[in-house]
Symmetry: C2
Subunit: 397 residues, 2 copies
């Protein structure tokens, strides 16, 4: 293993153990595939035990041989968890002031698997460690930022190809299929990972006109009719028409890291009021950029944007229409598409250098379509770097 | 809503409520997207409350308007769960012989969301309802079987196109990209859903030679090197060579339903011992087919196959190599790729008419590749119907 790789994971471990110490956590059992990859370099199936002091051990179900190659930590077969169990129970016995406090990811771990962990460590008090690990992952290393930049290049090339390909009468899903193929032959892994329960995202939302404005379960500003009630979002069979907004909310996953960006296109020109809304979306993005620097509270960006769209007379259309509006302006991205921070009311985090955030002002017009723009930004020591490289402005085809 | 649709969902409700009655469950709170779709016809975000008697109510977070259109049951905003809470607590108070027993899906619901439900219904005793709903979904209706048949046609066309497309020196992921594009332009929804924690599947495994034999975390017989340690399965950048087995384990999702099948191809011919292993895989499939009828215990199919491959001298290579072997011969499919029943030791279910099962004898040769075959079958009243329509035998290219 390279020294670079070792120091990368060492840094993550130190930060995790610091947070554990502060919160009185004796051990963290990491279970989720993405968290395991982040902490060990391996996404094999198992549990990583991180003690508050000392070296973690990766207990692997399968593949053990592959985990040995990939992981920076010692790998043991999953059966060896019994040894850990004995060690922990003897260490915690007799010290009533220091109970065994174990953490795991309550936000993703299913109840049944948690109950198995509880049964294995009956003396432990369990706490939710998901915020710790999500906050850890919120600040990206140069290595991670480089991967997100590679994804940004891939998505730009696929978008450009898609814009050349689109024709009046083309079903949305055919345009989506073309773009996805362009992503895939550039080594996109096929989906963008999401952390939230029941959330699915393939490569984003490609939808036009009325179909784009159909609301859906997905926690984002653009819904989409989808291919059926069993996949009720994004591209549908509806044919793209002249003069209606085509929303291209696209991403991909390169070497584990996602990018997220949105562009608006139209065959011909947009109706005047939709062009106006698009221009307001860009203005919101510019006003937001002006505040993108360490120290700005995340919620301020959302609340300021709300005021700006209210002044522009578009509040009812902002980030969805009516009851279906979502209440955020942007979200962190990285290994998953729904990372911290969230630009929303109540998120008091100040921006920090190393955060990577997708900011996506959009306006929905029922029966007519969705317009907007989205870029991914890196927060730097003195401001920001725009990671999305696609040309801005409505793409008139 | 059509009468047909109504009676379909009515039947599912009756069967769920019968199982609840047998197990003393007062109410079932369905939370998972696929289970919600199965029970209501809608995949919007929310909780379905199913009382042991009477009509369910679908409490929806978003999109309410879309759920109203899609769901066969009454839709209420998620806030109305408070009313349910009051009704249930008053109904259960004062009847100590009949405590409030609530079920939900412990196998998929994250701990944090379960704790919120527990806090909402503090008097309830909670039980795991996942097996009930998975057993319900195990028996397919004609409507579901028709969707799986459509998926079987889609995958055959994509496979045939892929076999025409493959060339010596083509990276595995380019072949995968081509096939996925063929799937997607036939309205494949982009992924195949899996129920298991941390499990991901895009469209299956396309891998050749040594890369196909690399083990991975995925609970299946074929692994694959993958594109990076962050997506460590299926197609990789490795170039396909002459004379090595190309594994095409493919599926897609059409109208919510998946198909799963595997074919083996080669440019030129296979080494003799791998051709022999392929022939044994087909022989295992034929022997299994002979027992595919209502009444046969699921585990018997697996145990018989084990004996057959032992007699053939291939036990060490069956369903993975060495420590990385998986311990099943097949699995139910439907809305998800990992449904019941499982053809594995300990699964005593007798086969029943209406089950749909993918059966996949495969052999792994470390450093050399994976050969095998997989078909999806419907169990009928007097035997089986093969739903996979792709030609069998090694495809010599």
């Amino acid at each position: 293993m390279s020294n670079l790789k070792e120091s990368l994971y060492q840094d993550r471990l130190v930060r995790l153990q610091q947070a554990m110490k502060q919160q009185g956590i004796s051990g963290f059992i990491v279970t989720q595939n993405v968290d395991l990859y982040y902490m060990t370099g391996s996404m094999q199936n198992g549990n990583l035990f991180v003690p508050v002091d000392g070296e973690p051990i990766f207990y692997v179900r399968r593949s053990i041989s592959r985990a040995v190659t990939e992981s920076v930590y010692t790998v043991e077969p999953i059966g060896a968890l019994k040894t850990l169990q004995q060690q922990l129970s003897s260490a915690s016995s007799g010290s009533e002031e220091q109970p065994l406090v174990l953490a795991t990811e309550f936000d993703v771990l299913p109840v049944a698997q948690f109950q198995r962990l509880q049964a294995m460590f009956p003396a432990a008090k369990w706490v939710d460690g998901s915020l710790i690990i999500r906050e850890l992952r919120m600040i990206k290393s140069p290595h991670e930022i480089a991967a997100i930049k590679r994804a940004a290049s891939v998505v730009e090339r696929a978008l450009a190809s898609g814009l050349r390909h689109v024709r009046v009468g083309m079903p949305e899903f055919e345009l989506m299929a073309h773009i996805e193929h362009q992503l895939r032959i550039q080594a996109h892994a096929g989906i963008m990972r999401m952390r939230a329960y029941n959330a699915e995202l393939i490569t984003g939302v490609v939808a036009a006109g009325s179909a784009a404005a159909v609301p859906t379960y997905f926690d984002g500003p653009a819904g989409g009719l989808g291919l059926s009630d069993a996949s009720p979002q994004s591209a549908s069979r509806r044919q793209i028409q002249q003069g209606e907004p085509i929303l291209l909310d696209l991403g991909c996953m390169i070497d584990g890291y996602v990018i997220d960006q949105t562009r608006t296109a139209v065959i011909g020109t947009l109706p005047e009021d939709l062009q106006y809304a698009y221009d307001v979306a860009e203005a919101v993005l510019r006003a937001t950029e002006a505040k993108l620097k360490p120290g700005t509270p995340c919620e301020e960006l959302y609340l300021d944007a709300l005021r700006q769209v209210e002044d522009a007379g578009l509040a009812e259309h902002f980030m969805g229409y009516g009851e279906n509006r979502v209440k955020f302006l942007g979200h962190g991205i990285g290994l998953e598409i729904d990372e911290l921070p969230v630009l929303a009311k109540g998120f008091k985090y100040p921006l920090e250098s190393g955060m990577v955030i997708a900011i996506e002002p959009k306006f929905t017009f029922e029966g007519r379509g969705v317009v907007g723009i989205e870029n991914t930004y890196l927060i730097t020591d003195d401001g920001f770097e725009k990671l999305s490289i696609s040309p801005e402005g409505v793409a008139y085809l």
